[in-house]
Structures are given as structure tokens and as C-alpha cells.
């Protein structure tokens, strides 16, 4: 039963990835804007443009272009930049690790804050601590990274001088320095997640704590901490997990902002540069990789769901 379900989801995953490739391809090819103008500038001759379009295969029918492109993608090539002639895969390979680090760190921070906080406040809802936390996190929801990150930099980097305002040392060079440099960027990214996760988990925990099995756990004489951690937490984490999966999308947007502000050379910065310079193969490649990664992450979250929750698995 589990296997059939997974197979179904896998087929879905492949179908969605295929559709994404179509969307990405069409985004680039159907929109107004002539790549030859981008590459050769507006003043070149029509002949030269034609030659270029021919060289790039852009004068062929769309379906054929798509097939060619998809074939190359399967062979691991996303083409190369018009401007720097760097392979798109290489650009992604250079930028991705820092984004992954950024997102992973931010999520670790978010869970480390949201889970204990929710465990504390949900036991005694509507007390001062709970109201403060609930109100504060509501406020945090109004602090997207492009609003929060400049404030963090102004206070902690420029004002107090605790962290550098820009740049990082690569993780391979010096782990400690790298982590220190990453604190502000990942914090800027974590804050929104903290608010979302905290609010979800708190209300789920409050609901779980009404359940009979919590009373029966208490009746065994278990310590309240054990009741919270061993009995209440796990059944309350499913919507949290789902939210974390969906959240990747907004984290991506946040990561771009943070990279741009802190001058971290991730995929986001590469994408923004490529957009500004209309380097369309780079945009196309990055969009494809991110979108597929996003869908795969959703799939993995969904998979974890079915494995972790015996209620879902048995159907």
C-alpha cells in the first residue's frame, strides 16, 4: 500500500518536473525580447543577427528547440553564459552550496527557537508568556527579509560591529569564521520561519493536549516534560513539517535578498545578474534547477510524512 502510494507520487513528481521544464522553456522563448539584441547590442546588422540566431538554433521551430534543450539537460548540460561563456551547471555548482547552507542554518535556528517556545507556551495558553510570544510572532510575520536584514545589519554590523556587514569566508576555508559570518544572513532568513512554525506548532499542541491520550499519559504518573516531549510533540508536528516543505519557496526569495545585501555569491546573485544582463540561458538553467529542486523537496517532505505518521500510512 505504501509502495503503491509512493509510486503514484513519483509519477506525479516526474509529470510535474516535465511541466516545469515546459514552463521554464516557454517563459524564456515566448516572452518578448530578442536575445540577439541582448548579445549583439541594438545596433548590429540584421545579417549578423540572423547568423547568431542560426548558431544558437533559435530560428528552428519551438518544439525542436525544446527537444534539443531537454536532450542537453538530460546529458547534464544547461548551456553556457553568453557573456562569460561559463557553463550554467558550473555557475549553479558554485552558488548552490552557500544557499543550501543558508537555508539549512536558518531552518535549524527556526526550529531551535519555535519548538521549545511552543512547548512552553502551549501548556499554559493565554498566560503572559504565551500572549507575548503570540503577539511578537505576529509582528515578525510583517518582517520579510528585505525589511529585517537591513535593520540587523544596521544594528549588529554597523552599529555594534559584532558581525561583518558583507561577505563570507567559504565554509571549506574556515568553518568557525564562516559560521560567524553566516549568523546575520541566516537569522534574517529564519525570523519569518520562526513566526510561522511557532504559531502552527502552538495551535497544534494546544489541540493535541486536549486529547484523551494525553490524559491517559498523565494518569501513568509521567513527568509533564515527558508528556510534552514523548506524547504531545510528535502527533503535533505534521502540519509543521508540511509548512516547512512549502516554506522553501519563500525561503528562496529570502535567500536572494540576503545574498544581495550581504554580497554572498549564491545562486540568487547569479540569477539577478543574469536577469539584469538578459543572459537568458543562465536564467533558464537556474530557474529549471531551482524549480525542480523545490518540487523534489516537497516530494521528500511528503514521503517523510507517510513514513513518520502511522495514521497516514495505514490509511
Amino acid at each position: 500500500m505504501l509502495a503503491t502510494y509512493l509510486l503514484k507520487r513519483l509519477v506525479q513528481l516526474i509529470a510535474v518536473s516535465f511541466l516545469i521544464s515546459v514552463i521554464v522553456f516557454m517563459l524564456v522563448h515566448l516572452l518578448p525580447g530578442d536575445p540577439s539584441v541582448t548579445i549583439l547590442g541594438p545596433n548590429d546588422t540584421p545579417q549578423n543577427r540572423a547568423i547568431l540566431l542560426h548558431q544558437l538554433g533559435l530560428n528552428k521551430p519551438l518544439v525542436q528547440q525544446y527537444a534539443t534543450w531537454l536532450g542537453q539537460v538530460f546529458h547534464g548540460s544547461l548551456g553556457q553564459s553568453y557573456l562569460t561563456h561559463q557553463q550554467v551547471t558550473q555557475i549553479i555548482g558554485q552558488g548552490a552550496p552557500v544557499d543550501v547552507e543558508l537555508i539549512v542554518l536558518s531552518q535549524l535556528i527556526a526550529f531551535a527557537v519555535a519548538i521549545p517556545l511552543a512547548l512552553v507556551t502551549s501548556r499554559r495558553p493565554n498566560r503572559a508568556v504565551d500572549r507575548t510570544a503570540t503577539t511578537t510572532t505576529f509582528g515578525l510575520l510583517a518582517l520579510p527579509p528585505f525589511v529585517l536584514a537591513p535593520i540587523l545589519v544596521a544594528v549588529f554590523a554597523v552599529g555594534l560591529g559584532w558581525f561583518p556587514a558583507t561577505g563570507t569566508v567559504p565554509i571549506s576555508q574556515n568553518l568557525a569564521t564562516n559560521l560567524h559570518d553566516m549568523i546575520l544572513p541566516s537569522l534574517a532568513l529564519a525570523v519569518g520561519s520562526i513566526a510561522v512554525y511557532y504559531r502552527l506548532l502552538r495551535s497544534d499542541l494546544i489541540a493535541t493536549l486536549q486529547e484523551d491520550f494525553i490524559t491517559s499519559a498523565r494518569a501513568k504518573g509521567l513527568h509533564p516534560r515527558r508528556v510534552m516531549l514523548r506524547h504531545a510533540l510528535r502527533p503535533s508536528t505534521f502540519s509543521l513539517l508540511a509548512a516547512a516543505g512549502v516554506n522553501i519557496g519563500s525561503l528562496l526569495a529570502g535567500a536572494f535578498i540576503v545574498e544581495s545585501l550581504f554580497a554572498i555569491n549564491g545562486i540568487g546573485l547569479a540569477l539577478v545578474d543574469a536577469v539584469e544582463q538578459r543572459d537568458y540561458l543562465v536564467v533558464q538553467g537556474i530557474a529549471l534547477v531551482i524549480a525542480v529542486a523545490y518540487v523534489v523537496i516537497q516530494f521528500v517532505v511528503d514521503f517523510i510524512f507517510t513514513v513518520v505518521d502511522p495514521r497516514v500510512a495505514r490509511g
Binding site: 516545469i20 510583517a142 494546544i206 519557496g249 544581495s260 536577469v275 536564467v283 518540487v295
Partner: protein, 313 residues
């Protein structure tokens, strides 16, 4: 804000009061009555009206920006570079000597037009499609829903960046792009609330009386779906404003020198400006925070008022 105030305590009590036999009608009625006396009847509160007031101020400022006694947002006062707040420049000037209040007021236009404009587009197309699709059901509905699902699998920011990359950015293009990008989500949300009503007694009764589908959709279902749709729309507005702000911060939204809160924050956040004149970053940051907070608050209170569960989002 705390949406389930008192619920925990009440819930525990009603649970216990609901002695014995599962499904006992008398008791569950009592439990429902007890629970219903909880959050939804509370007045909207001062905070709600403060939020309305702030959104109102921002809208008025943006609408009457040309009429207000302000310097032009791009006029450079060479005598007052990086000036602090004064009677002359109430919020100070930036590193090019431009009046920050003026830029803030004109910049509000971008956020508001994009925020409300795009969600209006999204609601007109996505919302009405959701309404019709949810009511009619069948193969058409299943196809639409699956399509929306697939499109939602694509990160919104990426789509918007990619489109602006090749189509260019102007206020109207950005509004249109974000509006179109919001269609699938609003479709799903409105469809979900429509489904909740499509088979209720009053709808079935109207159908039995021979009312046309259009009449049923607009006279019977729409009024019921509207409160939920409005509160989702408020969330949508906040999301759209954040999206535009992020694009502007990255320099991919409305091109300079048109001021927007996003590009003002970006300009104010350069290392030099942060060290010499923090006001450039501070005013749009505060304004943006308050705007988003107010919109979230309005949506949240509406949701409580109309007893819409967050799970429906």
C-alpha cells in the same frame, strides 16, 4: 493575534463535561454553545481600527501625493545632502539631497498599486474561476484544480523574476505579473470555500426552485464565500507587497529613479549609507513593517469575526 484565547481552558472543560456516551446530542450541543461563546463574538478592538487608520493614511498619501505640499521626489537639494529631519525636510534627505518624506509618499504608490492591483486581478480571474469551478464540479473542475496544483509547484518568486527579466519591469507590468501569478492560489482558496457551500440546504433548495447556476453562484454562494475570500485577499495583498518589495530590493522592479519602498530600503542599506545616514533605510523599513502588520491584522480579525479556520488557507 491570539486567535484561540480561552479555547484551551474551555476545550478541556467541555471535554470533561461531555461525560460518557460518545455522540450524546445534548452534551455536544452544550459543548458547541460553550465553544461558540468564545472568540468570534469579541469586538474588533482598538488595534484593528489603528491598523485601518494606518492603511488609510498610506492610501490617502499615495493618492494625493501630487497635491500635497511636497518637494519633487527626485529633486536634488544640493544644499542639504544627508540632512537629518528638520522643518524643511520633515524626515531628512538622502545622499543625493532628495526629500525622504516625498520619496516615501510617492514610493507608497508602488506598494499599494502592486499589492491591491495584483490581488484584484487575481480575485477577478482566480476567484471567479474558483467559484464557478467549485460549484460546477466534475471533470472541468478536476482539470482546473490539477492545473493550479502544478503551477503552484513552481516557486512564485522565480516565475516573477524570470518574466520581468525578459519582459521588462514597469509598475503595470509588475502588477500584472504578480496578479497573474496569484491566480492559482486564489483559485484554490475560493474553490475550497465554495465547495463548503455548494451542497448546503439553501443551495440545493434554490436549485430545486429552478434558479439558474449563475443566479445560485452570485446570489446564494458568493455572499457566503465573500468573507473568507476577503480575508484571504488581505493575506494575498501582504504577500504581493512583500514580493514586489523583494523584487525592488533586488533592483528588478519598477526602474529607478521612481521611488518605491523596496528600492529605497536597498539604497539605504548600502554600507556607506548605513554608516552615514540610517534614515534613508529607516523610514521605508518602518512604513513597510507597519503596512504589512496592519494588513495582516485586518485579515486576522476578519478571519476571527467570520470564524474562518486557518486550515482552509
Amino acid at each position: 493575534m491570539p486567535d484561540d484565547r480561552d479555547l484551551a481552558a474551555t476545550g478541556a472543560a467541555t471535554d470533561l463535561l461531555a461525560d460518557a456516551a460518545p455522540g450524546d446530542a445534548a452534551i455536544s450541543e452544550e459543548a458547541v454553545a460553550l465553544a461558540a461563546s468564545g472568540p468570534s463574538r469579541r469586538p474588533l478592538g482598538v488595534v484593528f481600527w489603528l491598523a485601518i487608520a494606518w492603511v488609510g493614511v498610506v492610501i490617502l498619501a499615495a493618492v494625493f501625493a501630487n497635491v500635497l505640499p511636497l518637494a519633487r521626489p527626485d529633486f536634488q537639494h544640493y544644499g542639504a545632502i544627508n540632512a537629518g529631519p528638520s522643518l524643511h525636510h520633515l524626515l531628512g534627505t538622502d545622499d543625493l539631497g532628495r526629500d525622504l518624506l516625498s520619496r516615501l509618499v510617492f514610493g507608497a504608490r508602488v506598494s499599494l498599486v502592486v499589492g491591491f492591483g495584483s490581488i484584484t486581478i487575481g480575485m477577478i480571474f482566480g476567484g471567479s474561476a474558483g467559484l464557478v469551478s467549485g460549484y460546477l464540479g466534475g471533470l472541468w473542475d478536476a482539470t482546473m484544480n490539477a492545473t493550479a496544483f502544478v503551477i503552484l509547484a513552481f516557486p512564485q518568486i522565480l516565475a516573477v523574476i524570470a518574466i520581468t527579466a525578459f519582459w521588462g519591469a514597469s509598475l503595470w507590468k509588475i502588477t500584472l505579473i504578480i496578479g497573474v501569478a496569484s491566480i492559482p492560489l486564489l483559485f484554490r482558496v475560493v474553490r475550497a470555500s465554495t465547495l463548503a457551500f455548494a451542497n448546503r440546504e439553501f443551495v440545493v433548495a434554490a436549485r430545486a426552485l429552478g434558479a439558474s447556476p449563475l443566479r445560485i453562484i452570485f446570489r446564494e454562494i458568493l455572499p457566503n464565500v465573500l468573507p473568507a475570500a476577503m480575508s484571504f485577499a488581505m493575506i494575498g495583498v501582504a504577500v504581493a507587497i512583500i514580493l514586489e518589495g523583494s523584487l525592488a530590493f533586488l533592483g528588478l522592479s519598477v526602474p529607478l529613479p521612481t521611488p518605491s519602498w523596496g528600492n529605497m530600503i536597498a539604497e539605504g542599506s548600502t554600507n556607506g549609507n548605513l554608516q552615514q545616514n540610517v534614515y534613508i533605510m529607516l523610514w521605508p523599513t518602518i512604513s513597510m513593517f507597519l503596512l504589512l502588520l496592519s494588513i495582516n491584522l485586518i485579515g486576522d480579525r476578519l478571519r476571527q469575526r467570520f470564524d474562518i479556520r486557518e486550515s482552509m488557507v
